[in-house]
Amino acid sequence: MIKVWQLSKSFGKNSAVDSIGFNVEPGEIVAFAGPNGAGKSTTLRMLSTYLVPDSGSISIDGFDAVENPLAVRNRIGYMPESNILYEGMRVDRFLKFIAKAHWLSPGQISENLDWVVDKCRLEDVLYKKIYQCSKGYHRRIALAMALIHKPGVLLLDEPTHGLDPLQVLALRDFIKSLKPNRAILFSTHIIQEVTAVCDRMLVINAGKIIAAGTNLELALKAGFAPWAECCLDQFTPAAKNALVELKCGNLIESATKPDGSIEAVIGITQPGLEEELEALVNSGLFSMKSFKTAGIDTESVLAELLRKSPGDEE
């Protein structure tokens, strides 16, 4: 859905984005994480067609963002970091204006307006002018603006910025609910957001993507030693042998619980441990009651990756 290749952007002599590339598929939520000034917003602005890249290409739903910006704009919902709303307009009129600009029919406008008002909880402010709304409502209106035409691609720049904790939790749940069939890319420097919402993370620093992958993949890349805790039934010597010979992990310890099941702790050495264990379950060696990874402190992982990145060494 989103394909970015060798994308670069400079402002004068300052390189804001330096030859980055990534894909985001439908049904995937990808976080763009990194410190302030890393190039997150610049990248999203290029994806939104507001900025034109110096080099590289952006393809959204098969349309090139430089060659065919109108088609791209029709397919994306863009929520910028700053509140770029017409403060003097009433909320309902503002959202209708955005919907009309996306070429929705009157019937669709009415239907989609009801949907975003419900999802973004705007009932109380719908007939108020935007400047009369609180900061939290400003963010929700901006999100409603990005969603009013029900786009297949969502670009959210710091979506929870300025929200209170309850609103943050509600918004995260809402973003997760939007996941089916949508490619969602959102930038953040709040680590809890990454673990709470995303499937994958792109770590950007000084305009370069320094790491990409799931939390586990990034933890391994950063040199951390995460482990898995799993509860197994029917633990035979053959099963124990299989655990010792795992490709993706090392059996650290195992203990028998009062109910006869085994609590095993497996050190993860490479991604794919859960899939490997499931294969063993399918072969009938044992059954697995539970599986969870532990020892991944995303904040420390990110800090370590940033510390190791070339931009930091400079």
Partner: protein, 261 residues
């Protein structure tokens, strides 16, 4: 089709789509204008000043025509139209809604034309504030209807040109005051170069160049305006104003498109 919702993605289809896009922008701008008190203050100030000055002259001259009104108009418009247009792009840039507007699936030409259409509609509405004067003239005597119509045509055309200049200069900056000063300067140049005395002064500076006469003949709006307001509806004069309006709108489209750096 958009995912999940089944909302059909429509393109910006043909001439109808183009006009619809212009209408969407125009309607938003008009709504914003009438939502704020500025539009009403502007309307009252312009009407009182233009009609007030004319009425003063009317009672002194005691002639049943509106020539003094139309004679005064270009100078008044050189101040009032920049005041109307100064925020049209500059404000969008200052409060960052420019980013919102640029990332909507609308062409830059639709944005510029939509803004122009809104401002022009409001200008024509403001011009209508002098219609009670026309009614008064008909009550008091028999004014020359042709002259009245041509006066309004001239006023409508010079207004279109000045609005285009204002939109263009507003797109150059994020500061409304700077936009106003540049726009008023341009409009004044187009007005002032249309006076014989100014042309004479400029000619006198470098007689060999005859720059003042050149500006009067080929640059200034006033000779064209006076010809139209005087009752001569020549195609060349209409073309001058139309071409100037289109030229500055085109400059605006180029400038705004270039803002996507």
């Amino acid at each position: 089709m958009n995912s999940e919702s089944g909302t059909e993605i429509k393109a910006n289809p043909g001439a109808t789509g183009f006009i619809r896009g212009v209408h969407i922008v125009c309607a938003r701008e008009l709504g914003a204008m009438f939502d704020s008190s500025i539009a009403y203050i502007y309307f009252i100030a312009f009407s009182l000043l233009s009609v007030g000055i004319f009425m003063n002259d009317f009672f002194i001259r005691a002639v049943i025509d509106m020539s003094p009104y139309f004679d005064l108009l270009p100078l008044l418009l050189a101040v009032f139209i920049p005041a109307l247009t100064m925020k049209i792009w500059a404000e969008e840039k200052r409060i960052l809604t420019f980013e919102l507007l640029i990332t909507l699936p609308l062409k830059t030409s639709q944005l510029s034309l939509g803004k122009f259409a809104a401002l022009y509609f409001f200008y024509l509405l403001t011009l209508c504030s002098s219609l009670p004067v026309v009614a008064m003239l008909y009550v008091l005597g028999s004014p020359d209807t042709g002259l009245l119509i041509s006066g309004y045509v001239a006023a409508a055309l010079i207004g279109a040109m000045f609005i285009s200049i204002g939109i263009f200069t507003s797109g150059l900056t994020d500061n409304q005051i700077v936009a106003f000063v540049i726009s008023a300067f341009f409009c004044f140049i187009f007005v002032v170069t249309g006076s014989h005395s100014t042309a004479g002064i400029i000619d006198g500076l470098v007689p060999a160049l005859q720059a003042g006469s050149f500006l009067y003949d080929y640059f200034s709006a006033i000779p064209h305006y006076c010809a139209l307001a005087g009752g001569v509806l020549a195609v060349s004069d209409i073309f001058y104003f139309a071409a100037m309006a289109v030229l500055f709108l085109w400059f605006n489209v180029l400038n705004i498109s270039g803002s996507r750096v």
